[in-house]
């Protein structure tokens, strides 16, 4: 099994949220995550971002003002 580096590991973590990974991909990601704390954090964060998108409809706080939104 080929050793993954972090960059490639993040690619698989991301892809996993959009499509099923192949067996080989799953195994090497799992192996990498077991050894790499930073990637483990990253994996949780990608998942959180994914969940946040779905939670937006119900959970995002809203502000009554309609106007004056300065962000471009």
């Amino acid at each position: 099994m080929k050793m993954l580096m972090c960059r490639e590991a993040t690619r698989l973590m991301s892809k996993k949220l959009d499509a099923p990974l192949g067996l080989q991909e799953r195994m090497s990601l799992k192996f990498h995550l077991a050894m790499c704390g930073a990637c483990k954090n990253c994996n949780h964060q990608f998942q959180l971002i994914h969940d946040a998108g779905r939670a937006f409809e119900h959970q995002a706080p809203v502000y009554p003002s309609d106007s004056g939104e300065g962000s471009r």
């Binding site: 972090c6 490639e8 991301s14 892809k15 959009d18 499509a19 959180l48 998108g53 409809e57 995002a60």
Partner: protein, 202 residues
């Protein structure tokens, strides 16, 4: 908070519906703005969705919450608006040199994280999503995403479209879609960490 999406509302009093529509409107707007990145277009789309919701009130079957149903209408309207944007040629900026560099700068040439960019712990996800501050940071980080990434990213993560559907809408290959989403997640993650952890630490 009065509006509970899970209450079984077969009463159908239009006054009650009006009240709930008014209550959900700001959230619809926030959603549409993130997706369309144009405040006045977002206003229009939300207006249309609200009108449709009133007109089609009889079609609401109560299978999902009322607010969820209204969001469903909004998503259709947004998709129409995105298609119109695309037809108007608003989608053509695909130069991504700077972008690639921004993403690559998080990694060493060996493929390991740069020391500065190593993802840290964020703590409990549930309390994160329950934090108002997190959503503020989320909003500003979404706005900060480059437009061509944001468009694909929000179609996936906010609208919940599959990458296959996105490919069709955007006219790109699925592979390309995964690359864009990967970049979007890396950029958003880094931005959130900066804004959110800085706050949590202080």
């Amino acid at each position: 908070m009065a509006a509970r999406p899970d209450s079984s509302c077969d009463a159908g009093h239009s006054g009650e519906r009006q009240r709930r529509l008014a209550a959900v409107r700001p959230r619809l707007l926030a959603f549409a703005r993130l997706q369309l990145r144009d405040a006045s277009e977002a206003d229009d789309v939300v207006q249309e969705a609200l009108i449709t919701a009133v007109e089609k009130d009889a079609h609401f079957e109560g299978k999902s919450g009322y607010e969820t149903w209204v969001f469903g209408i909004l998503k259709h309207k947004i998709l129409d608006a995105l298609r119109a944007q695309k037809r108007r040629g608003k989608w053509q900026t695909w130069d991504d040199d700077g972008l690639e560099a921004a993403v690559e700068s998080q990694f060493q040439t060996t493929g390991r994280w740069q020391e500065m960019a190593r993802p840290k712990r964020w703590g409990d996800p549930e309390s994160t999503l329950a934090s108002e501050r997190f959503w503020q940071v989320f909003d500003s980080c979404m706005i900060a995403l480059p437009e061509n990434i944001a468009r694909i990213f929000t179609m996936r993560e906010l609208m919940g479209l599959s990458t296959r559907q996105i490919c069709e809408e955007a006219g790109i290959k699925e592979n390309n879609c995964w690359v864009i989403l990967h970049r979007g997640r890396l950029l958003l993650r880094a931005c959130l960490e900066k804004g959110w952890l800085a706050e949590a630490d202080s």
